[in-house]
């Protein structure tokens, strides 16, 4: 069998970068599926595109800035109402730093 396009170790590394936990079984299945997909994508190697510029924007357009004028934004309480936890007008998050009180 040919070398895999992506190893189990790489799958676990990418999962860490993507902030996803995968069980051992999920990681194994992910490796097989990504390997098949990346194998198919090797078809791109037929093309020499070293001189072709990339297309990041399909429709050429300017990105004009709008006037820098203050305006009302959404209501804070309405926005915070969608947070899993909020406190004192802000998002409540798990403790990041230990502090002495």
């Amino acid at each position: 069998m040919a070398d895999p396009k992506i190893t189990l170790g790489q799958v676990l590394h990418v999962a860490k970068l993507a902030r996803l936990t995968l069980s051992h079984e999920e990681a194994l299945q992910m490796q097989v599926q990504l390997d098949a997909i990346l194998g198919y994508m090797e078809g791109l190697d037929e093309l020499d595109v070293s001189d072709v510029p990339p297309t990041f924007h399909s429709i050429p357009m300017d990105a004009p800035l709008r006037p820098d004028v203050p305006e009302r934004c959404s209501d804070r309480s309405e926005t915070l109402a969608q947070a899993p936890a909020s406190e004192a007008g802000g998002y409540a998050v798990p403790l990041v730093l230990e502090v002495d009180s």
């Binding site: 992506i6 790489q10 799958v11 990418v14 999962a15 970068l17 993507a18 902030r19 996803l20 936990t21 995968l22 992910m30 599926q33 990504l34 098949a36 997909i37 198919y40 994508m41 078809g43 791109l44 093309l47 595109v49 072709v52 510029p53 990339p54 297309t55 990041f56 924007h57 399909s58 429709i59 357009m61 990105a63 709008r66 959404s74 209501d75 309405e78 926005t79 109402a81 969608q82 947070a83 899993p84 936890a85 998002y91 998050v93 798990p94 403790l95 990041v96």
Partner: protein, 488 residues
Amino acid sequence: MSDFPWQSAFEIRDQVAQGGTSAVEVTRAYLARVEELNPMLSCFLTIDHEGALAAAAQVDHGRGAGEALGPLAGVPIALKDNLCTRGVRTTCASKILGEYIPPYDAHAVEALRASGAVILGKTNLDEFAMGSSNENSAFANVHNPWALDRAPGGSSGGSACATAAGLASLALGSDTGGSVRQPAAFCGITAIKPTYGRVSRYGLVAFASSLDQIGPMARSVREAAQLLEVIAGHDRRDATSAERETGEYLTACGRGVKGLRVGVVRDLIDGLQDSDVRAGVVAALGALEQEGASLVDVSLPHAEHAVSVYYLIATAEASSNLARFDGIRYGLRVPGKDLTETYTKTRAEGFGPEVRRRIMLGTYALSAGYYDAFYLKAQRVRTLIRRDYDAAFERCDIVCTPTTPTPAFALGEKTGDPLEMYLADIFTLPPSLAGLPAISTPCGLSAGGLPVGLQLVAPPFEEEALCSAAQAVENECGLLGSHPPALA
């Protein structure tokens, strides 16, 4: 109401305007039909009785007060559940947003409200619009109304199903790589993927920002054209919204195709394995020719690479866009022992398998050491795909292909093999990558009674040409008047 539920949006508006019926009466009738059939079809995730009846009452009140009615006054519409609706749950068919209630309306939703449309509810989709069969919804599988064991297509499968089954008059979907066109083809309706920038993405939950567009879905070309007129236009809240005047899409439907040069991607059509799809496309080309269009052979030599290019670019963008779902500001939170574990547990539990797979693929394609080989290379080949169209449009005004290689496949048929599912998108991906407008409209039925869709693609901002040509196809080989047999 005559011909309920199949009467057109124009007929509903006229009836409401003339007092033949009230918007509330129309809304009640459609809501009752939704209640009756949704348990079988699963096309709606949220039914907004209260909001729909309030909007209808407002239309009736306006009429009573002698106010001018909007172009969609009293017309019942369904919205894909990745369009933000103020005060109404917007889930993206994901557990991670299962209870999310947006504090604002998407631009397209505001435009609909201003037009007098009545929003019945929010439709099912593949989670975060990632899928081609609607089987990636965290909540339920949508069924194709033409054959309940078949996929409705995806990702806007709920919107396509609701429209085809007469649960709504019109619907909005979103299209990143074919997500309005492919389900429209599978469910026998018309859908338009506008030019990138034609419709504001403000309030559309982002999947792949360089590709996403909101698109109209309807049972006829004229209704889709009318709906596009309502939602198109510049919006300063979307930095990629084009400063272009909205076209006269409805008028364009009546223009005919005399002198129109239709580009036929001959090798692709001759290579079709499915004889029903080939027959449908050939019939549509015959119809266009008969109406005065001329056929020109063109080729898209790099279209075969579109699946690779798309599934690198779209997943890379998705991995970045979906980083925002971390359990802090909205949606699900699964607490862990520290912040990092809270992120990883939330995302592992909140995202389904396909979304996780795409985030993984996209993260890999952008990661150190692989960016040039995958992501950048894909963006370079994307240029070649664009150039293919540039060359084709020197010889023709629109390019014609089927929308899909086959009619609707069976539910469960492709779920075991993600790559096989991706390959089914081969015809809808190239115009998406090039940012071009495209329409899918029915061009017949297969021997098994399933709809076949024709795709027409035009140069940037030439949606009018799509409407003219699709109308000619609809006149000759459309499905108007034939409805899903089980529901008629």
